[in-house]
C-alpha cells in the first residue's frame, strides 16, 4: 500500500497525523477537504453547505448507515469500501438504482493521515465499481482515545425505475428463497484477523456491491417480492425479520446453503453457527415459484454458489413468524433470532 504514500496530496512531513484542528473549520480543515476529499471524490463544482442534484422524476429511495469496524483493513476490504457497499446494498434491497452517497467522517485525533488517505481512496474505488458518486460530506475530529480511528456514516439516494413493491409484507406462501452465494466469509475474515487465526488460505470478506445483480433481475422481468442483505446477524436473522414482518413460516434445507470449507472449519473451531455470521455481499431474494429457475440462472451467472435455499410454506399464527430448517440428517429444527452477540463457547 506504499503507492498511496507517494500520491497522498496532504504534506505528510507537516501533518503526518490527524489533528483536532482538521475538524475545526479553519485552514487545516479546508486543506483536508480541498486536497484530500474533493479531488478524490471528484466533487461537483461549487463547495457549499449542501449539494444540489438533478433527479429523474418518480420514486426515490434513501437510506443511512454508520460503519464502525476493527480492524479498519481486513482481507477483502476495509471500512471505506464497506461504507460504500453497505449503503449501496441497502438501496438495492428496495430495488433502487443507487446514484449518490454522502460521507460523514468521525476521525480520532492522531490517526495517521496515510490511513485516512487509503480509506478515502478505497471509498472512491468502491463508489466507481458500484456506479455511484460521493457528492457531499462532513468531517469531525474527536480527542485521542474517544474514537476507534475512523467512524464513517454514509447516506445514499437511489431511484426506483420499476413498478414493483419490494417489501417484506409482499412475501407470500409459496415464494422461493434464493441466496446469491456462500455465507459467513465476512464475519470469519474479521474474526480471523482479530484472533490471529491462520488458515491454509486467507479467508477474504465477501464485501461487494449487489446493485448490478438486483437491477439485472428486474431488467429480465423477474417479479421480486422481497430482498434482504445478510449483514449483522447473518442469514438466520434476515429470514426471521422477514418471517415476522410478513407473518409467514419459512422452511430451509441445510444442504442447499453453501458454506466454504475453510469458513465452516473456522466456525467449528470458534464455536459459531455460519447461519448467524455476518456477510457484506450476500442477499436473499423472495420470488414466485414460476420465476425461480430464471432468477436462479441469472444469480448463478454471477456466482455459481447461488442456490434455492428454501421456501415460504404458509402463514404463521399471530404474525409471529417461524423459520425452520431441515438439517443434514433429515430432522427439523427452529432457526431463531440470536438473543445477543454470538459468544464463543467454552469447549
Amino acid at each position: 500500500m506504499t503507492d498511496f504514500n507517494l500520491s497522498c496530496p496532504i504534506p505528510l512531513e507537516q501533518y503526518p497525523h490527524v489533528l483536532l484542528a482538521h475538524g475545526g473549520g479553519g485552514r487545516l480543515m479546508h486543506q483536508l477537504i480541498n486536497r484530500l476529499f474533493a479531488p478524490t471524490f471528484q466533487s461537483l463544482g461549487v463547495q457549499h453547505d449542501s449539494t444540489v442534484l438533478n433527479l429523474p422524476t418518480g420514486k426515490i429511495a434513501i437510506t443511512t448507515d454508520s460503519y464502525v469496524i476493527h480492524p479498519l483493513f481486513f482481507p477483502g476490504g476495509d471500512i471505506g469500501s464497506l461504507a460504500v457497499y453497505g449503503t449501496v446494498n441497502d438501496l438495492a434491497m428496495s430495488g433502487a438504482r443507487p446514484l449518490y452517497l454522502s460521507a460523514g467522517f468521525i476521525l480520532e485525533e492522531g490517526l495517521p493521515m496515510e490511513t485516512l488517505w487509503r480509506v478515502v481512496q478505497s471509498m472512491q474505488k468502491a463508489a466507481e465499481s458500484a456506479g455511484v458518486r460521493i457528492v457531499t460530506g462532513d468531517t469531525k475530529v474527536v480527542d485521542r482515545g474517544k474514537g476507534d480511528g475512523i467512524f464513517i456514516n454514509t447516506t445514499g439516494i437511489g431511484i426506483i425505475e420499476h413498478e414493483q413493491l419490494i417489501v417484506p409484507t409482499a412475501v407470500e406462501p409459496g415464494d422461493i428463497i434464493i441466496l446469491n452465494g456462500d455465507i459467513g466469509r465476512h464475519g470469519i475474515a474479521i474474526m480471523a484477523v482479530r484472533e490471529g487465526l491462520e488458515f491454509e488460505t486467507t479467508i477474504e470478506s465477501d464485501s461487494a456491491p449487489c446493485n448490478s445483480l438486483v437491477l439485472e433481475l428486474l431488467a429480465q422481468g423477474i417479479e421480486i417480492h422481497c430482498l434482504r442483505d445478510l449483514t449483522r446477524g447473518g442469514l438466520a436473522s434476515a429470514l426471521n425479520e422477514i418471517a415476522i414482518a410478513a407473518g409467514v413460516t419459512i422452511s430451509l434445507k441445510e444442504t442447499r446453503i453453501s458454506v466454504r470449507e475453510d469458513v465452516g472449519g473456522a466456525c467449528e473451531i470458534l464455536g459459531f453457527d455460519p447461519l448467524y455470521v455476518a456477510n457484506e455481499g450476500r442477499f436473499i431474494a423472495f420470488v414466485p415459484e414460476v420465476k425461480a429457475d430464471q432468477a436462479l440462472k441469472i444469480m448463478q451467472s454471477r456466482d455459481r454458489d447461488s442456490g434455492i435455499i428454501g421456501r415460504v410454506t404458509g402463514k404463521s399464527r399471530k404474525s409471529l413468524g417461524l423459520v425452520t430448517m431441515e438439517s443434514k440428517i433429515g430432522t427439523t429444527r427452529i432457526i431463531d433470532m440470536l438473543s445477543g452477540e454470538q459468544l464463543p463457547r467454552i469447549c
Binding site: E195, T249, E261, G264, G265, E268, L270, G271, S316, R317, K318, L320, G321, L322, T324, S327, K328, I329, G330, T331, T332, R333, I334, D336, S339, G340, L343, P344, R345, I346, C347
Partner: protein, 370 residues
C-alpha cells in the same frame, strides 16, 4: 470437511436410528453428560429419530451452567477493579450472578475481554506490565490442561501480574452424585468424549462396575451420538454394564498423560459448589500450595472480603438443579420461555448455548407460532 461431514451424514444417521429401533424392546432412560452433546442432540433433532421409549436426559456437563453464583459474584468484583484486565471464555459473560453479569460490569467500565485460550492471558500479562491480568478458569477436565499450562508458564516466566479465579469441575464425582441419588432414573450414560480425551476411560470403568450402569464414551456429532445410544441400548438390552468407547478417533483408555501430569502438577482436588445442585465432594480442582501465588482469591483477598464464598441460593422459580440432575425437563419449568428467556435468564442453563434450557428455547418452541 473430513471428520465432520461423515458424522453428519443422513443415510448413516438413519441407519443407526433404525438399528436402535430394531434392538429396543422396552423403555430406557439415558443421560448425555456433556453440554456439547445436549446442544448437538437438540440442534440436529437426534431425539426425534429415536423410538418412543427412549428418553434422553441432559446432564450437568455445561461448565457455564454449573459455576456457582458466588464465583460469578467474585469474578464481577475482580473485573471491576481499576487495574484489572479480566479475561474469560465468551459464554460466561452473560451468566447472571446475584445482581448482574460480567457484560453489565463491562458496560459499567470494567475491562473484560473474551479469550480463546488462557495462554492469551499470558500475552496480555507480558504486554501490560502495569495491569493485573485475571483469568476466569472455568470448565471440566477438557479446559483444565490449558489453564494448568498457563500457570506453569507464568511460574517459569515469573509473571507477577497474572492470576486465575479457579472454577474447574470434574465429571466423575457429578455422575456418582446422580447415581447415588434416590431419585435417579438414569439407566445408561453417554460420557463426554473430550473430557475422556484428556482423562481416559479408567475412572468410568470403576463407576460402571460400582453402579452396574453402562457408560459409553461418546463424541459430539449426530452419528457419534446415535452410535453411542445404540451401544448403550445394546448393553441394556443384553443386561451388560460396561464402559465402552465410541469416540475411538479421539479417546485412548489412558487418556492424554502429558496433560494429566500437568494437571497433577498444578492442581489439587477439592470439594466444589455446583450451581443448582450444591456441594459435591472431590468434584473440583484448585491450585496447589506451590502455585498459590497465582490464586486471584488470595491476591485480591482484601477486595473480595465482602463477597460470600458459600453456596448462594437465590429465591427464584428456576429449576435448573433438577434439570441438570435429569429429574425435570426445561418444558416442566413454569418460567420457561415466559419469565425466563435467553434475553432475561433466571438461571444459567438458559444462557450458554450448551445449556439445556437455551437449547430447547432456540430449537424447540415452535408450537405457539404455527
Amino acid at each position: 470437511m473430513k471428520f465432520i461431514c461423515e458424522y453428519r451424514d443422513e443415510k448413516i444417521a438413519k441407519k443407526y436410528a433404525s438399528a436402535i429401533a430394531d434392538i429396543t424392546t422396552q423403555a430406557w432412560t439415558i443421560m448425555e453428560i456433556c453440554g456439547g452433546q445436549t446442544h448437538s442432540i437438540v440442534k440436529y433433532g437426534i431425539d426425534e429419530l429415536l423410538p418412543a421409549g427412549i428418553t434422553l436426559i441432559h446432564g450437568p456437563g455445561c461448565p457455564v451452567c454449573v459455576t456457582a453464583i458466588a464465583l460469578i459474584d467474585r469474578a464481577i468484583v475482580l473485573a471491576s477493579q481499576p487495574n484489572v484486565i479480566f479475561c474469560s471464555f465468551g459464554d460466561m459473560l452473560r451468566v447472571p450472578g446475584t445482581e448482574r453479569d460480567l457484560l453489565s460490569a463491562k458496560a459499567a467500565g470494567a475491562d473484560v475481554r473474551i479469550v480463546y485460550s488462557p495462554l492469551d492471558c499470558l500475552k496480555l500479562a507480558r504486554t501490560h506490565c502495569d495491569r493485573q491480568i485475571v483469568f476466569f478458569a472455568v470448565g471440566f477436565e477438557t479446559t483444565a490442561p490449558a489453564t494448568a499450562m498457563a500457570v506453569y508458564q507464568a511460574q517459569q516466566e515469573q509473571l507477577d501480574n497474572f492470576s486465575i479465579l479457579v472454577a474447574h469441575v470434574l465429571v466423575p464425582p457429578a455422575m456418582e452424585a446422580i447415581l447415588a441419588s434416590p431419585n435417579c432414573c438414569v439407566r445408561g450414560f453417554l460420557a463426554a468424549g473430550h473430557v475422556c480425551t484428556v482423562m481416559g476411560n479408567r475412572e468410568y470403568e470403576a463407576i460402571s462396575k460400582k453402579y452396574s450402569v453402562p457408560i459409553i464414551v461418546t463424541g459430539f456429532e449426530p452419528v457419534d451420538i446415535l452410535q453411542g445410544i445404540y451401544m448403550c441400548i445394546q448393553q441394556l438390552e443384553s443386561g451388560r454394564a460396561e464402559c465402552e468407547n465410541q469416540y475411538t478417533r479421539s479417546v485412548r483408555r489412558e487418556g492424554n498423560q502429558t496433560a494429566q501430569q500437568l494437571i497433577q502438577e498444578i492442581f489439587t482436588v477439592i470439594p466444589r459448589q455446583w450451581r443448582g445442585i450444591g456441594e459435591i465432594a472431590e468434584s473440583g480442582w484448585d491450585l496447589r500450595q506451590k502455585y498459590a501465588n497465582f490464586d486471584a482469591n488470595k491476591r485480591f483477598q482484601q477486595q473480595l472480603n465482602s463477597v460470600a464464598c458459600d453456596n448462594i441460593c437465590l429465591q427464584t422459580e428456576c429449576i435448573s438443579g433438577k434439570i441438570m440432575q435429569g429429574i425435570k425437563k426445561p418444558h416442566d419449568c413454569s418460567a420457561f420461555g415466559t419469565r425466563c428467556t435467553p434475553e432475561h435468564p433466571l438461571g444459567a442453563p438458559m444462557v450458554s448455548s450448551e445449556g439445556a434450557c437455551a437449547a430447547y428455547y432456540r430449537y424447540r418452541q415452535s408450537n405457539d407460532r404455527l
